[in-house]
């Protein structure tokens, strides 16, 4: 069988991915003392009940760790590990598992965390394989856009930290414009269609966010529990606004691309179309995509809060209290995103009216 370019690429990714995964399983990536669990002994287990009448079992295991690198290399240590059957904040360790440890001056070892990086590399390899297998040459575009966007995300966060959560709206709106411009440049190149998609994206974001922000102010942000923003290290309100602006951006770009591309093709096939007909077609196309698109974001935002929601409900908190402290911000974020996604439909269609001159030129040629 002849090796095509695609097959060679797949083979290379597979071999490289497997080697790096195995290497990362055995060796530390960067500083840190790595150890291997060489022996596991169950010491005891006992039933426990807490003040909420939750029944769990606590286990104690004795682990023998062999240090794999650093100044203590080759030495073995005994460690005891307590974990609950639910493994909410602690976990069970297994024979042969690799863990990062800290060895104290008193000669005691302490498990810091399980080694997990190799699984990320494994998952990345699988993703890359499937990406190249399906998209062949086009896959580098997606790779490029994801990488560039991740870097831009990092820069945005650095700026946010530098401004310490002030000027959020200005910062994240400018970031959104840069994100959208760069992404459309990568996928579409510099041409009229790209400019129209960009215009539609920015327009929809500005109008939707302006409207939502207006509603927030008009209702005095009543019922928004900013205290519930998880992992807040700065003003939670600024975090909420920032994540709402960025979260919906991809969906609005997705939708603008779909609508503008479809309408442009439609117009090319049928240059006699009136604006009225085009408006109608745009709404029809948008109608089909907007529902599923809202659900994409809704599920991403809601699912993240699910572990906490379950815990709150488990501990006999009322439904309204649980909702307020775990799900309400996700719902608000989804609602604002949904408004953006809905408004993109007419805005992208209106922006597509600007397509006409190009089609006429193309017709003339």
């Amino acid at each position: 069988m002849k090796l095509t370019k695609k097959k060679t690429a797949l083979l290379l990714i597979a071999i490289l991915g497997i080697i790096v995964t195995f290497w990362a399983y055995q060796h530390p990536l960067g500083k840190g003392t790595l150890a291997q669990v060489t022996q596991v002994q169950s010491v005891s287990h006992q039933a426990e009940t807490d003040q909420y009448q939750n029944k769990d079992t606590q286990f104690e295991q004795r682990l023998t760790l062999r240090i794999l690198n650093g100044s203590h290399q080759g030495q073995t240590y005994q460690v005891t590990n307590d974990y609950d059957a639910s493994q909410l904040i602690n976990q069970r360790y297994y024979h042969n598992q690799r863990v990062y440890v800290q060895v104290s001056h008193q000669g005691k070892a302490n498990i810091l965390t399980a080694k997990r990086d190799w699984v990320l590399i494994l998952a990345l390899t699988v993703t890359a394989l499937i990406l190249v297998a399906i998209l062949a040459k086009k896959s580098w575009l997606i790779l490029l856009s994801v990488t560039v966007n991740c870097l831009l995300f990092l820069v945005t966060l650095r700026l946010d930290i530098w401004r310490n959560g002030t000027a959020t709206i200005l910062l994240y709106s400018s970031a959104a414009i840069v994100f959208a411009t760069v992404t459309f440049l990568i996928y579409q190149g510099w041409r009229r269609k790209m400019a129209i998609m960009l215009l539609s994206t920015i327009g929809a974001l500005v109008i939707a966010f302006g409207l939502s922000y207006g509603i927030m102010r008009a209702t005095n942000e009543q019922g928004i529990t900013y205290m519930a923003v998880a992992y807040a290290t700065q003003s939670p309100r600024s975090l909420f606004l920032g994540q709402t602006l960025l979260g919906v951006l991809g969906a609005v770009m997705d939708e603008s691309t779909d609508i503008v591309t479809s309408l442009s093709e439609l117009w090319q096939h049928n240059p006699q179309l009136t604006r009225r007909q085009l408006w109608h077609s745009g709404l029809t196309i948008g109608r089909e995509i907007m529902g599923p698109l809202i659900n994409v974001l809704f599920l991403i935002f809601m699912a993240a809060a699910l572990p906490m929601t379950i815990l709150y409900l488990r501990d006999n908190n009322t439904i309204s209290y649980t909702f307020e402290y775990t799900l309400s911000l996700g719902v608000l974020q989804s609602l604002i995103s949904a408004i953006g996604i809905v408004l993109t439909v007419p805005i992208a269609t209106l922006a597509s009216f600007l397509l006409r001159p190009l089609t006429k030129e193309a017709q003339a040629q």
Binding site: L29, G30, D56, A85, S86, Q87, L88, I89, Q91, Y100, R116, V119, L120, T127, I130, I134, L135, L141, N149, F153, L157, R158, I161, F179, T183, T219, Q222, G223, A230, Y231, A232, Q234, L239, Q243, L246, G247, A251, D254, I289, M290, G291, L293, I294, N295, V296, L297, L299, F301, A303, L306, T309, I310, L313, R314, V331, L332, L335, I339, L343, V345
Partner: protein, 271 residues
């Protein structure tokens, strides 16, 4: 009026203005989806079997998104079928990766939020973490499934006699367009969902090594990659499903016409 009520009302007005009945159906699908999520959480908290919850709620959620999000029976059926198939594959992948990564439950970063809550609640958090990952991917998978099926069905409608090779080429092209935008939607959704956590990592100067082994980071990164894989798989699977379906229908049609005409014509047609 609270902000949430106002936003709900404004969204309802806008969605009906833009989408008419279809918009109303989309609005309904979001409400139902919310109820399903909350019900799943409530049942699990009440001690329901998590596997059972997964088996019941995954198809229900897919059906809600697909059937209320599209306006054509055949398209909805096909999209539901392909998204369900991909979800089955993704569930296996998620279970495997969650187990290998040993990244489940809550991280050190949640300590502050855990004050006053039970840390031994008696529910299997490995399975809950897997279920959360599955739920996050469902929206993206079904959205890609609807787009891909709509494109392919339209293609077959306009050129019913398309050659297999041309069909594959068009499907490939369509898949590329859909994937590029779908992956963006997921990526920015992920940014929007994890903004605060990433600022936490940056502020506390996490070193790369610490970050790559951090429970929450690995959890979130795996969800992102699993969602990517989910939408990627939609393309070949839908192409194959619809192609197979089309062939099946064609053969069936041929058989009927052959049966109706003389038997000698059947052998000629086969050549």
């Amino acid at each position: 009026m609270s902000t949430m009520t106002a936003l709900l009302l404004v969204l309802l007005v806008l969605i009906v203005l833009v989408g008419g009945t279809a918009g109303l159906k989309s609005y309904l699908s979001i409400l139902i989806n919310f109820c399903l999520i909350f019900m799943a959480a409530w049942l699990i908290a009440g001690g329901a079997n998590i596997w059972l919850i997964a088996v019941i709620f995954i198809p229900l959620k897919l059906a809600t998104i697909v059937y209320l999000g599209t306006n054509e029976q055949k398209l909805a059926d096909q999209a539901f079928l392909s998204s369900l198939l991909v979800t089955v594959i993704i569930v296996l992948l998620i279970l495997g990766l969650t187990w290998l990564g040993q990244a489940f439950g809550l991280g050190d970063q949640d300590d502050e939020d855990l004050i006053g809550l039970a840390t031994a609640p008696g529910i299997n958090y490995l399975l809950i973490t897997a279920l959360v990952a599955i739920f996050s991917t469902l929206g993206a998978i079904s959205e890609a499934a609807v787009a891909m099926n709509a494109g392919l069905l339209e293609l077959l409608r306009q050129t019913p006699t398309i050659e297999p090779a041309a069909y594959q080429r068009s499907a490939q092209q369509m898949g590329q367009d859909i994937l590029g935008t779908a992956i963006n939607t997921i990526l920015f959704g992920f940014f929007g969902s994890n903004l605060a956590l990433f600022i936490w990592y940056l502020r506390l100067n996490y070193r790369l090594n610490k970050l790559l082994n951090d429970k929450l980071f690995v959890q979130e990164a795996l969800v992102l990659l699993e969602s990517f894989i989910g939408v990627l798989l939609i393309v070949p699977l839908t192409t194959w499903l619809i192609g197979w379906w089309q062939n099946h229908a064609k053969n069936h049609q041929q058989k009927i016409t052959a049966d109706q005409t003389r038997p000698s014509q059947e052998s000629r047609e086969k050549k």
